[in-house]
Structure formats: C-alpha cells, structure tokens
C-alpha cells in the first residue's frame, strides 16, 4: 500500500504541455527522497479539463494541481509530499473554497454534472499497466461472458441496455451485433473505428490513451457474441500516443492470455491487430474504413450489402467506435438496467463531448444523455470567455449543424439533435460567440469536407466544391439572393445524392446556419455587410475624425501605407489600399479606429 498516489495526466493535451517532464522530475525526486515505497507516481489518461493542463492530482487528499510547470515539482514534493502541506497556489481554483478549504474535484462545476462511464478509468489508472486495469475490475466482464453467458445472452444484454453507436448515426449496437451473429460466414471480423476525424473531437483518442484495455476487452466480448476470432483497430497514425498505448495494451493482454487462444480456459480464441490510417476523414465511414484495412484507397462502397453481411474481406463484420466499446464491459458487469437508467428514453447512457471554441473550460466531459446544452456550456464549460455573448454551438462537427442560442435548453440526445437540424456525431461541441460569423463558420466546415471528400461520387466531389464556391461569394459580398436559393437547392441535392455519409451530411452546417441565421446571410448579400465583422472583404476600417488626435501612430504602423494625414490632424484610411490587417486599430490609443 502506498500512502500517497501522484497521478500525472499523460493525455495528448498535457503531454504537449510537458507533463512527461513533470512526471520524470517527480519520479526522480521521489527516488532521491527514498519514498518509492510510500509514494507512487503514475502516468494516467486524460482528466478532461484540458484547458488547465498540465494536470496532476495527489491522493488521498485529492489535491488537483493545474497548469503545473516542471519548476513546481520541487515545491510539491517538499511541501505536499514531505510535509503534508498542500500547495494552494497551484490548485485548480475551483477546488478551493472561500474559506480556503479544498473541495472534492467532483464538487467543482466542471465535474459535478459529469457522469463518467466511458471515461471512468481515464485519469485514474496507468494505461500502460494491465494490472491496474484489472485492479479496477478489468477483464471481469470478459470472464463473465465466456464462463456464464451464451453469445445470444450477450447480445440481449447489449440490446436491452439501449446502447447506440457513439460514432455518429447512433445505430443500436445490439442490433448491429445481432445482424452479424445471424450472418453465415466461415470467418467474421470485429473492427474498432478509432479514426476519429471530426475537427475538435478527441474523446476516442483520450479513451485509447487512458483506458485502452476497455476497448480490447469489449472487442473480445463482441467477438464472442458474433462468433469472430479476429479483430482490427483502425486508428489514425496521427495519434501516436494512442497507438503506442494500444500496442502495449495488446501485448500485455496477449501475455496474460486475455487475447489469443483458449481465453479463460474456454475454447474461445480472439486476437487483435492495429491498422494505422493515414488520417482521411472519409475512413471514418464504415465501408471506407474496411476498404482501407484491406489495403485499398480508402473509399466507401455502396450499401447494401451491409458490413454485417459482407464487410471486411467480404466477411460478416461489425464496426463500432471506441466510445461505444468503452461502455460495453460495464454494461456486462453492472447490467442492462443500470445503463438504461441513465439518459433519455431513446438515448440511454452517457455521451462524451469535446468542448472547444469560445468556451472557458475546453476539454472532455461526459454527461448523461438528456443534459441540456445550457448545462454543458454554462455549468460545466463555464460559458464564453471575456463576457461575450453565446451565439451558437456546433455539434457533430462538419456533418452536424449549429444549435442557436434560443434552443440552448434542448436536452441533448440523438433524436433531439436531429430534430433541430444537427446530429450527435462523435461528440465535438464547438461554441461560437457574438464574434463568430455564421456564414464563415459554415464555410469553415464545408472547406473541411471539400478537402476530405474522397472524390468517388459526383455529388460530393463536385457538389461540395460548388457549394463552397457559392459560400465564398456570400462572404465576398458578390452573391445574390438567387444564389442563396441555389445554395439551398444544392445542399438538398448533395444530401440526397451522395454515396456515403460524408457527402450526405456535408451540407448540414450550411443548411442549419441558413435556417437559423438567414439574417446574417442576407446581411452579406443585401447590405454587403458581415454583422460579426469577420469576413474581410466586407470590412472597412475607418477613422472617427472626432476621436483622432493626429498622433500618426496608425500611419506609421500601416504595412501598406494606406493611412494618410498630417500631425495633429485627423487621419484617413484609403480603402483601396487597406488590406484589413487591423494593425491600426490595435495601435490606436484613442479608440478612433472602427471596423464597419
């Protein structure tokens, strides 16, 4: 037993903030002090509060240190570890009560409303040590399944739990498994989609980095349920830490005989391989993913046949994403009813969201389905920084749509999001405030899909490109009202005619912004004005003569010599020369320069 545990976040966010150096320094100091047998330093997965990284937590006090630097290590060791005095200045301020007492992490706003199921081991165990996963009930579910349940029992439990795919469309997981089980095949495959590609979404990466065994265990359970003996995890090569931890985890599972032949002494065999993706968004689409695993250009193919009938290498295959799998072992252990007790009627359980954009607490949160957008953005996320007004939130990444401020009390589940023109997607949640131009936002997402389209079908290859060009006309101020109608028509065409989900959902950001923020589009078209002051071509910098003192600072800083005027006289900006860089406005000490 250790008297103290120091958990250092080893997720990608904190790692890029140098957390591994902090880890090394801690280990070194502990060794120097001869405390190795009392104090244990562990590298864990993501804690979720990435905005405040690098993060570490010291137990049993539960002291949550945020934005730690390598230089802080000595103080933490000297004060907290040796003398038992918590270093208050490094604590995440939310955990410090008004009276100076330390609040439990779970009582802070960020964590209070969260319910960690898929993320339960992230930030708790060392993902590179299978024994720690086992200490937290790991592989118990697989053991239970293999020794006490029939494959059909497993599927029944998953079915009853109401678990739906966490990757996008929300297809019931149990039904998917049932189809694959019913399919006849000499060989069947279990695949995991870890090709998380939505800009801003990183929950799958965090699960793989923080709790890889949960996914491995779940895949073995799925394999048993459908009658497969081989699995593939398709993970993007851009996730080096996840790939490394997965590799370690698979090797450890093999060493313990939890992968391989005759698992738990039964006649069940299952092994698992990693396939690295090159980071194409379209490879998140199931058929494209399988085509890629087969070694071909990652492109979707028409369905039917569905993968459950004819998938990888033409064999019955199931594909679930990381987060979906991460729920499975606990559903087996705690029962379908436990899982079904969380969430809403048609969307059971929890969902992980990656908070990003104009929000205070960027990071990863897991909430029960049915939590409202308001709770996520304000209570958990801490609202928009700098007192700006919340305008909209984008869910579902480039396949989703935006949720405007007036719908902020919508309880989040699969069906509600669809009903308001967005979708769950993999759980990226990007917050926009009053400074965001919604046309520009739509353009941003569409540019992403134009770039990521595989180019196979006409509707997506050329349709999205033309749609993007039309959006550019809007932001350039050259579009007409007819163009808006044509855009809308093209959006529906692309949705109806594209071969795969990428194309079918690509116009969603445009459609939803057109729907909720048509006034902004019209301002661009009719008044040649960008209300949020984002679209450069529509911006004009002006000097308010009354306020200008003629200090010449702006003129001296203008990179293109667009500002003229004599000393102590009001200056003027030549709009034909101005490149709208904004330097003048930044430099002016009198607030005399405005954007219009």
């Amino acid at each position: 037993m250790f008297r103290s545990h120091i958990l250092v976040c080893g997720g990608t966010g904190c790692t890029s903030g140098n957390s591994m150096k902090i880890y090394d320094a801690l280990v070194e100091r502990i060794r120097k002090e001869g405390l190795e047998n009392e104090v244990h330093v562990t590298k864990t997965g993501c804690f979720g509060l990435c905005a405040y990284g690098p993060i570490m937590i010291v137990y049993p006090e539960g002291a949550f240190y945020s934005q730690v630097k390598v230089e802080d290590v000595d103080e933490i060791i000297n004060e907290h570890i040796i003398k038992g005095r918590i270093v208050t200045r490094l604590l995440y301020q939310e955990t410090v009560g008004e009276d100076g007492s330390i609040k439990a992490l779970n009582d802070t706003n960020f964590y209070k409303k969260q319910h960690r199921v898929a993320l339960r081991n992230c930030g708790v165990i060392n993902p590179e040590k299978i024994e720690e996963y086992i200490a937290y009930d790991g592989y118990e579910a697989l053991g239970k399944v293999l020794t006490e349940m029939t494959p059909q029992d497993v599927i029944d439990v998953i079915m009853q739990s109401g678990l739906r795919g966490r990757g996008g469309a929300g297809f019931p997981t149990g039904r998917k498994w049932q189809f694959a089980k019913n399919s006849v095949g000499d060989k069947k495959y279990v695949c995991c989609n870890a090709d998380e590609g939505d800009p801003g979404a990183f929950m799958d990466r965090s699960i793989l980095e923080g709790d890889p065994h949960a996914v491995i265990e779940a895949m073995a359970i799925a394999a048993y349920a459908i009658g497969s003996d081989q699995g593939y995890i398709y993970v993007r090569a851009e996730y080096p830490i996840a790939v490394q931890r997965l590799t370690i985890a698979i090797n450890q599972a093999r060493e313990y005989g939890l992968l391989g032949k005759n698992i738990f002494g039964t006649n069940f065999n299952f092994d698992l391989d990693i396939r690295l993706g090159a980071g194409a968004f379209v490879c998140g689409e199931e058929t494209a993913l399988m085509t890629s695993i087969e070694g071909h250009r990652g492109e979707p193919r028409p369905r039917p046949p569905f993968p459950a009938v004819k998938g990888l290498f033409g064999k019955p295959t199931i594909l679930n994403n990381v987060e979906t799998y991460a729920n499975v072992p606990q559903i087996i252990l705690k029962g379908a009813d436990w899982f079904a007790s969380m969430g809403t009627e048609k969307s059971r359980g929890t969902k992980v969201f990656a908070l990003g954009g104009k929000i205070h607490n960027t990071g990863l949160v897991e909430i029960p389905m049915g939590t409202t957008m308001r709770e996520i953005i304000y209570d958990i996320g801490g609202g928009c920084p700098n007192g700006k007004k919340f305008k909209a939130a984008q869910t579902g990444g480039p396949s989703g749509g935006c949720i405007p401020a007036h719908l902020i009390d919508t309880p989040i589940d699969y069906d509600n999001l669809i009903a308001i023109g967005s979708m769950m997607g993999s759980g990226g949640l990007i917050v926009m405030d009053e400074d965001n131009c919604m046309v520009d936002i739509a353009k941003f997402f569409l540019e992403f899909t134009v770039d990521e389209s595989c180019g196979k079908c006409t509707a997506c290859r050329i349709g999205t490109k033309r749609l993007y060009e039309m959006l550019c006309k809007v932001t350039d101020g050259t579009a007409t009202m007819e163009d808006l109608d044509k855009m809308e028509e093209l959006c529906y065409y692309i949705k109806e005619n594209s071969l795969c989900g990428l194309g079918q959902t690509a116009p969603n950001p445009v459609l939803s912004t057109l729907h909720y923020f048509r006034d902004e589009y019209e301002a661009h078209v009719k008044e040649k004005r960008c209300p949020a002051g984002v679209c450069k071509k529509l911006l004009r910098y002006q000097i308010v003569a009354d306020k200008c003192k003629g200090c010449t600072l702006c003129a001296r800083n203008c990179p293109v010599g667009a500002i003229s005027g004599t000393v102590k006289e009001p200056h003027v900006i030549d709009p034909n020369k101005c490149i709208k860089c904004g330097v003048c406005m930044e430099k002016c000490r009198f607030g005399a320069i405005i954007k219009a």
Binding site: R3, E61, E132, Y136, E140, G143, Y256, I263
Partner: protein, 121 residues
C-alpha cells in the same frame, strides 16, 4: 489467464497497489501520521511503514493512510490520528509495534488501544 479465479486473484493482489488512489469515502477509516520535521525526527517513518505494511498484509482496502504536517504537539510525536466511525482518535508516542497493534485492535476489530491515546498517559 486460464480461469476467472486467476484473474480475481491478480485483482486482489493489485488492489493494494491502487488503494489510497482516491479521496477517502465516508465509510473509510482514515489514518494520518504526523510527518513534519518533528514527527520524522521522533521516528514517524518506521511507524508509517508499519501501518502501510499491515494494511497490505491484511488487504485492508477500506483504509486510507497518509501523512500530515505538524500537529502542534511536537513532544508527543510520533503522532498517528485515526478517523473512524465519525470519531477522531489521537495516538501518541507511537512505535512500529504500537502501530501494528492499533491496526489489529482498533482499525480491524474496532477496539481503540486506549493505552496509547492522548490523555491516557
């Protein structure tokens, strides 16, 4: 892994490695050892080690053992505080042997070792 029993045995073994990796719950026994300069000089470290060792041996997962700073009665060090059943017990002048007895009598069996408590001697 040849059987579920094997897995469970491993888990049991591993539990002691991860005990204390949480904030103690309301039903947990919390033990704190005074580990400021005074406590350490008086021999608190062997006391702490004995406590940890006992917890390990006895597979006590419901016990949180940690250190604390100076309690303010340096002359009574090593001091061990036990929080159990909503009450606080302060043991003074502790030794490893006494610590083991506290673990056995008090923590496990619920009979405080009155002879070591502050105010008793």
């Amino acid at each position: 892994m040849k059987s579920l029993e094997e897995l469970r045995a491993l888990r049991e073994k591993m539990k002691s490695q991860t005990d204390n990796r949480s904030v103690a719950g309301a039903d947990e026994t919390v033990i704190k050892v005074g580990m400021a300069t005074c406590g350490i000089a008086a021999g608190a470290r062997p006391v702490l080690e004995a406590l940890l060792d006992e917890a390990d041996k006895r597979k006590l997962h419901n016990v949180s053992i940690s250190q604390t700073g100076c309690i303010g009665m340096c002359r009574l060090e090593p001091i061990v505080e036990v929080f159990k059943g909503g009450q606080k017990y302060t043991y003074i002048h502790m030794t490893p042997e006494k610590a083991r007895k506290v673990m056995n009598d008090h923590v496990v069996n619920g009979n405080p070792c009155k002879e070591y408590l502050i105010g008793e001697n």
